[in-house]
Structure formats: structure tokens, C-alpha cells
């Protein structure tokens, strides 16, 4: 280096780059989802806007920027205006600790996964502020439901994410990915029994934590019109959509890293991030496929499923992983 750059400068630059990549990814992931859902429903998705509908997300974003943003007179102004930002920050922060290639990542903390899980459950604050601030019965009801759901599904989410951590013995996301390199069979999904179970509970818990169907009681159109974002229009609505999709992409990245061996794949080393992206898209399409084929279940059934079924199952899974790890390393 010609001049000794202070250590935080590259981190800021890489943070800036990752943020923009994520926003670009979010806009085009929405297009991918709309096209994928359209094909599932035997129709053509966005087609006439730009070649094959490729400019559709840009048109949507631009139009939303120009819409009049209405603040309801009875709304609690400060909370109402602050909510989209508070909702968006955690959703963007989770990309800080994800290593896209062995060295390439904003900050590969050695408590990577702890940071990820802590920040990803912070988004409920912004969500509740939105529901409470807009002074609308539908929004209030959906904000209450959101708090119930995310509280009851964070624990299974954390437990099922801890299984790979136990198998590698380190919280650093880089190490978890490094252990899974090499052949296809050291991915954690192919770990004899525990891998598959952990993957299934992880996907179910991600679905619930991000309020995707069949757990999307949060913005259940048929009951609560549009949930907590019913009063938001224009740019604030776009920010909330951005946050929601960013959180989903973050969880898909985490899923791909924990279970599908982040950048391990045939071909030269440089292709690593491409494989990682492809696995993320695969995880995202699994979630979208579930979204477009399941019917939503009721609030009390969701909570019952979490407390009665998912939580004990993931706890037992965690304990059995610990026993297997200790047995594997000859501890008995």
C-alpha cells in the first residue's frame, strides 16, 4: 500500500460495496420471485416492461419514490416516520458477518453467527413501531401477532442454527464454511441423520421468522388487509419491502453457508462466490415454492406448533448433536 490506510477504511469500502450489492440483489430477487410464481401459476410474469420484464423492479422503485407519502393525521408522527428505518437497519446489518469467499467479507467476526442471530431478531422493534405508529386497528392486530410469532420462533431458529456450530466447534462463519469444503459429502446437510433434521427445522424456523407463508399471519391479506404496513405509501412502503426481502436473502445466505457448504463446488477456486450465490438462490426458491403452494394456518395453531412441537424437537436435536460430537471425539 502506498500510504498506510487506517484499518477501518477497507471495512467501510467493503461495507458500502456489500450494501449496494444487496440492494441490487433485492430488486432483482423480487423480479425472480414474481416470474417464478407466475410460471407456477401457468401465467407469464412481468413481460412488457423492458426486455422480458427485466426493468420492472426499476420502474416499481422509481414510481414508489415519486408517490405522495401520506402520514395519517391520527398517527403518532415520530414513531410512524422512524419505523421503516428501524426496521431496515437490522435487515442490512446481517450481511456484515457473511463471508462471500475465504477472505472476502465485511467483517468475519469470531462470534459471527451470534451477531447474525442477535441482529436478525432486532427487526421486530421496527415492525412493532410501524404497527403501533400508524394508529390503525389492522396494523395494531398484526403487530401483536408479529411479536408473538417472532418470539416463539426465534428459539427454534437459533437451536437449529447451532447444530452446524457444534459440528465445527467454532462460531466464526468462515470456519464453518471452511470445514465443509472438499467433497460434496462433508456438507452438513449430508451429515448422517442430524444434518437433514437440522436443515428441515432450519427452513421451517426461517419461514416463520420472516413471516412467509404458511406462517404469514402478519400481513394476511384476507384478514388484516396488509398487516403492519397498511398505512405506508410511497417510499416508506418501498423501504419496508426492501427490509423484508433483505432479511429473507440474509437467512437464505445463512442457510446456504451452514448446510450447503458455502463456496464449495467443482471448478476453480475463483468460482466460490458464484456457487454461494447459486445456493442462496436455491434456498430462496425453496422458500418461494413453499410460499406459493401452502395455505396459511391460524395464529393459535402456529404458536402451538412452535411451543409444543418445534422447540422440544430442536432442543433434543441439539442435545443429540452434542452427544454425537463428544462420542465422535472419544470423550466417553
Amino acid at each position: 500500500m502506498l500510504i498506510a490506510l487506517p484499518p477501518w477504511v477497507p471495512m467501510v469500502i467493503s461495507g458500502f460495496v456489500v450494501l449496494n450489492v444487496v440492494i441490487g440483489l433485492v430488486t432483482y430477487i423480487t423480479l425472480l420471485e414474481r416470474k417464478f410464481a407466475a410460471r407456477m401459476q401457468s401465467r407469464i410474469g412481468p413481460y412488457r416492461v423492458g426486455p422480458h420484464g427485466l426493468l420492472q423492479p426499476i420502474a416499481d422503485a422509481l414510481k414508489l419514490m415519486m408517490k405522495e407519502d401520506i402520514v395519517p393525521t391520527a398517527a403518532d408522527r415520530r414513531i410512524y416516520n422512524l419505523a421503516p428505518i428501524v426496521f431496515l437497519i437490522p435487515c442490512m446489518l446481517i450481511f456484515a458477518t457473511i463471508p462471500f469467499a475465504p477472505g472476502l467479507g465485511v467483517a468475519d467476526l469470531n462470534i459471527g453467527i451470534l451477531f447474525f442471530l442477535a441482529v436478525s431478531s432486532m427487526e421486530i422493534v421496527g415492525l412493532f413501531m410501524a404497527g403501533w405508529g400508524s394508529n390503525n386497528k389492522y396494523a395494531l392486530l398484526s403487530a401483536m401477532r408479529a411479536v408473538n410469532q417472532i418470539i416463539s420462533y426465534d428459539l427454534p431458529f437459533i437451536f437449529s442454527a447451532l447444530v452446524p456450530v457444534l459440528l465445527t466447534g467454532s462460531l466464526k462463519l468462515g470456519d464453518i464454511a471452511a470445514v465443509q469444503q472438499g467433497s460434496l459429502f462433508n456438507w452438513f446437510i449430508f451429515y448422517p441423520v442430524i444434518g437433514q433434521l437440522a436443515f428441515i427445522t432450519f427452513v421451517v424456523a426461517t419461514l416463520a421468522a420472516e413471516n412467509r407463508v404458511p406462517f404469514d399471519i402478519l400481513e394476511a391479506e384476507s384478514e388484516l388487509v396488509a398487516g403492519f404496513r397498511v398505512e405506508y405509501s410511497g417510499m416508506k412502503f418501498a423501504l419496508i419491502q426492501l427490509g423484508e426481502y433483505a432479511h429473507m436473502i440474509g437467512s437464505s445466505f445463512l442457510g446456504a453457508l451452514l448446510f450447503l457448504g458455502a463456496w464449495s463446488g467443482p471448478g476453480p477456486e475463483a468460482l466460490g462466490p458464484v456457487w454461494f450465490l447459486l445456493k442462496m438462490i436455491f434456498m430462496f426458491l425453496v422458500v418461494t415454492w413453499i410460499r406459493w403452494s401452502f395455505v396459511r394456518i391460524r395464529v393459535d395453531q402456529i404458536l402451538a406448533l412452535s411451543w409444543k412441537a418445534l422447540l422440544p424437537a430442536t432442543l433434543a436435536l441439539l442435545v443429540s448433536t452434542a452427544v454425537v460430537v463428544v462420542w465422535r471425539t472419544g470423550g466417553f
Binding site: 389492522y138 384476507s222 388487509v225 410460499r291 401452502f294 396459511r296 391460524r298
Partner: protein, 387 residues
């Protein structure tokens, strides 16, 4: 001196559970049209429902007193616009009953074929909107909705070939039908119902192995036998509660006695039972259409000469109540004629009006999500409710 009870204000007592009064208003994605339910909630459970209707009251009964017997059938199809054929059927049959007009055999068979096709189209729309209510417009429900509408388009093509219109037809006239089936239509109709029969099995397999769907449909909105008859609900709701009553078999009209079909009934009267009854009715309707197409006799399609002027049909003095088994239940038209070309009084017995009257009796105690599921399984059409 002030009256005693006007001065006592109900203090907001914090002892009991706090109640939230929510408005599932006229413009609501799952309101099946313009229906406003003022729902009083305790937390998530519904405590009381006040149903407000009348947002689509289009003065059908007053208009029918100013339109002649030839003009009104195409307006009649706007009462139940999802099953337009059955409402015309009832009006025209009532007029024929008073005037003792004889309907040729071919016209009766055409009417049966068209009524059963309309039943399939209406049940397809019911299945789609019900799953969309439970699954959300941006969720799984929308997929089944789009599949059902794709099938419904096939039937609308048949109607477009037969009558020229897709949704509201003027197919019926006093004394018979206005159009005859073009050649090649029968063969196309057989292909369409064959496609639909295979698709219905596909939907059944798609829904019934889905644990979420069963969790949302079983045990929700139970209607007892006694309450069903007392409120007067009809059709699939009645048969879902275990009462084996179907107008096509108990009081056969327009040569329904020539076809053999079974009337599906279920015992436990919840949303899932109504779903099973309607899915079975798909197959019975397909069977009836096949038999009717095979035994379609030749001959005239109307016993009255072509209309030269609108006021040509004069019905003698008298009154009659004709009933038809529509997709939602018994659709009836009660006409009192005074000998002129216009009825003196015409009353629509809409099936959805009585079906909707059962909601305030069964909804309290359910969750908000169930209100939507019950509304979908009752399948009201608001042209028929508000008339």
C-alpha cells in the same frame, strides 16, 4: 325530568377483557363483494358480529314491476352473477307456471345442460376464492385460485360459443330457450367436462393431503341440523349438515327425473363437510351433462313464436312460486301477475340471503382467521343477497 337510562353512561370498566370493535368493511379482499361485518374482538376471538348488507341493493324487485316478461330475464341474471343461468331459469319457470306454457323436450334438456355447466363454473369460482381467502392473495391460496379460474375459462368459452356472452346471458325466454347449440358444441362440451373432471381430482389431491388446509377447514363453522332448517339455509350448506334434500330429486323440474344422479351429503356440517359436498357435486354435474348430451332429443327449442314486440307476452292473472336448485341453494322466484305484460309483484328468494343470515349465529367464538374461512365456505354472492 331526565329519563333514568339515558343518563347512565357505561363506564369503561377495565375488569373484563378489553374489546376491540373492528370493521371488515365493504371493500375487503376476502369480502366476496360488498359485505361489511362489524366484528367485536376479545384478543383474537370474535365475540359478536353485526352484518351490514345492502351495499349492492340495485332495486331488482321494483325494476321487475316496470319491465315486461321478455325484458327482465337478462336483468334477472344480474342477481346471482356467478351463476347467471339459474336465476333466469327460476324467473322464466315461474312465468310459465302461471301461463301454463308447455316447454318442448329439447328446450328442457338444453336448460338442464346449461344449468349444470353453470354449477361447475360457480363451484370452480367458489373453490378459488375460498382458497384465496385462506391462503392470501400473495400466498398459496392464489395458486389454486388461478388454476380454478383457468378451468372456468374453458366453460366460459362454451357459453360464449352458445350464447355469445361470457358471464351474463339472456339464454332463457318464457316458453323455452332463445338459442340452440351450434354443431360441434356437444363434442367440445364433452372434451371440456372430461378435462375438468381430471383437474378436480388434481385439486382434491392437492388440498386434502395438505395438513395446513385440513387444520383450517376441519371443525370450523359447525352448523347443526336444527339451526340449518330454522334459518332456512339451502343447497350445499344444508347437505353439509346432514339433511338429504335436493330440489332436483325431491321436486324434479324441467325433466330432471330422466337423469339418475346421487345427492352427496355429509354429517358434521363444518367447512370441510361443505367442501366435500361441493367437490362431489362437480362429479354429479359432469354425469348429468353426459347423460343429457347423449339423450338430447331433436325438435323446437321454444313453444312460443319469435318475439316481434317486447310487450307481446301476456301472462293471465295468477301467482306462482318456482324453485331451482342453484349452486348456492334454492333460488326461487315468486311472481304475482295481473294479466298485463308486466308482473304485479316479483319476489326473489335468493339462496345467499338466507345462507348469509346464518353467519351471526355461528361466527361468535371463532378466531378472526376462521371468520374468513366460514365466509368463504358459505360462498355468498352479493347481487343475490342485496337484490
Amino acid at each position: 325530568m331526565l329519563d333514568q337510562n339515558t343518563t347512565t353512561r357505561v363506564e369503561m370498566d377495565w375488569s373484563g377483557p378489553e374489546r376491540l370493535q373492528m370493521n371488515m368493511g365493504p371493500q375487503h379482499p376476502s369480502a366476496h363483494g360488498v359485505f361489511r361485518a362489524i366484528v367485536t374482538l376479545e384478543g383474537e376471538t370474535v365475540v359478536a358480529v353485526d352484518a351490514v348488507i345492502g351495499y349492492l341493493h340495485r332495486c331488482h324487485e321494483k325494476l321487475s314491476e316496470t319491465l315486461t316478461y321478455a325484458q327482465y330475464p337478462s336483468i334477472a341474471s344480474k342477481t346471482d352473477y356467478v351463476a347467471a343461468m339459474t336465476s333466469e331459469f327460476a324467473y322464466v319457470m315461474a312465468a310459465e307456471e302461471i301461463g301454463k306454457f308447455e316447454v318442448p323436450k329439447r328446450a328442457q334438456y338444453l336448460r338442464v345442460i346449461v344449468a349444470e355447466l353453470q354449477r361447475i363454473a360457480s363451484h370452480l369460482l367458489w373453490l378459488g376464492t375460498w382458497c384465496m381467502d385462506m391462503g392470501g392473495a400473495l400466498g398459496g391460496g392464489a395458486t389454486i385460485f388461478l388454476y380454478c379460474i383457468r378451468e372456468r375459462e374453458l366453460i366460459l368459452d362454451l357459453f360464449e360459443a352458445l350464447v355469445g356472452a361470457r358471464l351474463l346471458y339472456g339464454f332463457f325466454q318464457v316458453g323455452g330457450t332463445r338459442y340452440d347449440i351450434p354443431d360441434g358444441w356437444a363434442q367440445k362440451c364433452r372434451e371440456t367436462i372430461a378435462v375438468i373432471e381430471s383437474r378436480v381430482d388434481e385439486y382434491e389431491q392437492m388440498l386434502e393431503d395438505n395438513a395446513f388446509f385440513l387444520a383450517r377447514a376441519r371443525g370450523v363453522g359447525v352448523v347443526s341440523r336444527e339451526l340449518a332448517q330454522d334459518v332456512g339455509i339451502a343447497g350445499p350448506l344444508l347437505r353439509g349438515s346432514g339433511i338429504d334434500y335436493d330440489l332436483r330429486r325431491n321436486a324434479p323440474y324441467s325433466s330432471y327425473q330422466d337423469f339418475d344422479f346421487t345427492v352427496p351429503t355429509e354429517k358434521d356440517g363444518d367447512c370441510y363437510a361443505r367442501y366435500k359436498v361441493r367437490m362431489q357435486e362437480f362429479r354429479q354435474a359432469v354425469a348429468i351433462i353426459r347423460q343429457a348430451l347423449d339423450k338430447l332429443p331433436a325438435g323446437p327449442i321454444s313453444s312460443r313464436p319469435a318475439l316481434k314486440s317486447v310487450a307481446q307476452i301476456r301472462i293471465p292473472k295468477g301467482e306462482a312460486y318456482a324453485r331451482v336448485e342453484g349452486p348456492r341453494g334454492e333460488v326461487g322466484s315468486y311472481i304475482i301477475s295481473d294479466g298485463s305484460a308486466k308482473p304485479y309483484r316479483m319476489k326473489w328468494r335468493g339462496a345467499s340471503f338466507s345462507n348469509l343470515a346464518i353467519l351471526p349465529h355461528i361466527i361468535p367464538g371463532h378466531k378472526v382467521a376462521d371468520v374468513v374461512a366460514i365466509m368463504g365456505s358459505v360462498d355468498p354472492v352479493f347481487g343475490e343477497v342485496d337484490r
